[in-house]
Symmetry: C2
Subunit: 341 residues, 2 copies
């Protein structure tokens, strides 16, 4: 027997409110007491209510647009992957007669709601997905097609394309172990970043598996900036020589470049006095002196897959795989190519 | 007396072909003998024919989309300004209830024709405009609204926003003269690039005004790449000390970074043995060792102005200024901060 479609009336009955209240709350057109909203959300989740978007698409023509927004780059920083990611998505979309619609970034869902209500986009690519991502939850509640570039917590049931950050740090750490390093430090982001926790776990698992003593003081957590990388590395360089790390991995290239500058300011030689490996393989990495080893992400493939999955979903085909994790690749340069002597 | 609107019939009569042929050629729907097409184009230019797009907008709703595409970045290169330029345009457009529609880059006009015919965009922002730009000419013939980020040849009559590259090189060269440099080299692009010719002219005018002897061997022209900057600088470093340049200006940061590496490979000190100034002030510049002096372009303002001008045109208001040239700013860092002793 086919399950009957859950309607707003079912949600209203379960939540003990009127049909009109549920409709307004679900469509975001009114504000009610937080407790009432919570009751309605709980009821709609419990019943598995999905808004009926097919009615809407019967009314309105499809836009053949895919919404995308990205976290604005802070001054003095650069978004290294935007060009490649955007270009690959634009080309992949074009090939399927879709276009991208970039819009200003907002952690809140109102921009998404507006684009849905105005019928300007058929689907979204979410970037910078984090734990308990509000945008992902909202789009799931709306049953609106989206794919996330990056995973949220384990067990999530929406389509995503992600890069295996833990594997990247595993490769970087094993490379340094292979050169004979025993005291390997890590420049990491604060606790609570999904991408950061994922990357750092690759380092932790690998040093632990190598039987190295636990040295919590060799993990520095802070903003992923040049400045933090510089300061944390300068502190390590103040340690007595027999405790000082001989190598470090960084969760991004900005941190690693800060580490290079800490060495250079003290007249020390990156790659000789301290091996350094970054993450992102920004175009800068190859031009530094010495050139920086770094973990390169398959950004072009990720962009193509994000759009490919969405187009399949929009056209009613099952995507080959709707939850994809891609492996990154370690690029070794002279910042980490000398064996420990 | 008001001038009568020139119609396709007038163009047909002048070109000596049928109305149908003109219509198809103007709308790009057929191919005719090149001589016929040339006759039609000449007739429509001579008469000042403008396609009647208002009829089209009466039929179709405005899309409130602005088309934009950018030159794809070669592997190992990075488009330093894309993020900032795109973000500023997206935000400016959003504020006026417009959106950007990015599409794959094409020097040809077919992508533009397709987007016009499908009614997907109301206007375009053109980037990488060069001499005799085909896209600009096509959009002018179509009388379709656009703004160019960058000028084409002098005397053009379309809206543009550009950065004064000559002024940037003037600032860089005067800065080096002020430090006492007398032999200043230039890393430039091949002849025939509008942006390159513009930037180089600022160097030429300034060294000439300073009464320095003409040294054609101090101007190296090649691809604007790291590799070319490295090779050209290495050749200069082979000159006898009393002929060798003591400073150089580069038309972009990639060339300047190549110059830094040429010095470092020979054990020479950038900023001391040779002063180096780049152009673009890429985020990399500040992180190099030594940090690179560079000319910073007001990219955010340029993006806002491009969209601002278009929105004014689309809404029938006269833009405050439809041909804007913005001044860049020299950022001095330690690659060029020492006086010649």
């Amino acid at each position: 027997m086919l399950k009957r479609r859950i309607t707003l009336k079912d949600v209203a009955a379960q939540a003990g409110v009127t049909y009109q209240t549920v409709s307004k709350v679900i469509n975001g057109h009114t504000h009610v007491l937080p407790a009432t909203e919570a009751r309605i959300r709980a009821a709609s989740l419990a019943l598995g209510y999905k808004p009926n978007h097919s009615a809407r698409s019967l009314r309105a023509q499809r836009s053949r647009m895919i919404g995308y927004s990205w976290v604005p780059t802070r001054p003095e920083q650069v978004n290294h992957i935007l060009d490649l990611f955007l270009t690959s998505m634009v080309e992949e979309a074009e090939a399927a007669s879709y276009h991208l619609l970039p819009f200003p970034f907002d952690q809140d869902v109102s921009a998404y709601r507006e684009l849905i209500d105005s019928g300007r986009v058929d689907a979204f690519v979410l970037s910078s997905v984090n734990y308990g991502d509000l945008r992902a939850r909202f789009l799931q509640e709306q049953a609106y097609p989206f794919v996330a570039f990056g995973r949220s917590e384990a067990g999530q049931d929406f389509p995503y394309v992600d890069i295996d950050g833990a594997d990247g740090l595993r490769q970087a750490t094993e490379h340094l172990l292979g050169l004979g390093h025993q005291r390997i430090a890590a420049l990491a982001w604060p606790v609570g970043s999904r991408v950061g926790d994922d990357r750092l776990s690759g380092y932790l698992v690998t040093v632990t598996a190598a039987g190295l003593p636990a040295r919590p003081d060799l993990i520095a957590r802070g903003e992923g900036t040049f400045q933090f990388g510089l300061e944390a590395t300068a502190r390590w360089l103040d340690l007595p020589l027999n405790q000082r790390p001989t190598a470090l991995v960084a969760l991004n290239d900005s941190l690693a470049i800060g580490a290079l500058h800490a060495l250079q300011r003290q007249g020390l030689r990156p790659g000789t006095d301290l091996a350094v490996v970054g993450f992102d393989d920004t175009p800068t990495a190859q031009y530094l002196w010495p050139p920086l080893s770094s973990v390169r992400q398959p950004i072009r493939a990720a962009g193509q897959l994000c759009v490919g999955i969405l187009v399949a979903l929009l056209e009613g085909r099952a995507p080959a795989d709707a939850q994809v994790v891609l492996k990154p690749e370690l690029i070794v340069r002279s910042s980490s190519s000398r064996r420990v002597t």
